[in-house]
Symmetry: C2
């Protein structure tokens, strides 16, 4: 699901968007491509703030994530991107938390996204 092309994208720096929504509308928060850590079919992301994202996820744990790079070949031209859909949760302890905390000392929690689909959009 998280294929070579996606790994190539996140090897380039860029802005990731993480979209959640509740009854009152959509929320979007950003992180960097270089902050994404892929473990099997999960994406781990360091969270310092992301309080509104966490609140939305307690209401509805569906999440949409976009990531891309103009420096990676797409279907027809240079530049590609992915729309990733999955279920999200925040973790505050355990081995994945410890591994992430070592990489990103600034985090207070880890946003864990279990990927359900990852579509190359371009």
């Amino acid at each position: 699901m998280l294929n070579e092309k996606l790994l190539e994208v996140i090897a380039h720096e860029g802005v990731v968007s993480i979209v959640t929504w509740s009854g009152t509308g959509a929320h979007v928060v950003n992180t960097w491509n270089s902050y994404l850590v892929i473990v099997d079919d999960k994406i781990l992301i360091p969270a310092a703030g992301m309080r509104k994202t966490q609140k939305n996820i307690e209401f509805n744990n569906s999440v949409k994530v976009t990531v891309g790079s103009k420096e990676v070949m797409g279907h027809s031209y240079m530049g590609t991107g992915f729309l990733i859909e999955g279920k999200a949760g925040f973790i505050e302890s355990g081995s994945e938390f410890d591994m992430m905390k070592e990489k990103f000392p600034f985090l207070s929690r880890v946003l864990e996204i279990t990927v359900e689909s990852a579509k190359q959009t371009l």
Copy 2:
């Protein structure tokens, strides 16, 4: 509202996210920093697909846009980003449409966002 720092960001290439939402959830579509054209307090974006975005906007014309660059200085470190909120519409004719069509021959409509706020998030 659309200040120098934001103009500096969009002078660097990167992925823009455009978030809309309706009763059935949030939708996110992407474009490139280099595709944004600023005219006064409006952002013009070439639209080729973006059909779901257009459908959502007919229901609710509020939109959230994120844009950033790791190569532009933020509040404390390299890397900054903006969350832009505004009202959106699609235009299919007129002088702005013609100007955009000349720059981006692939467009079928222009997504016009009237900016209400643009907050530097990092």
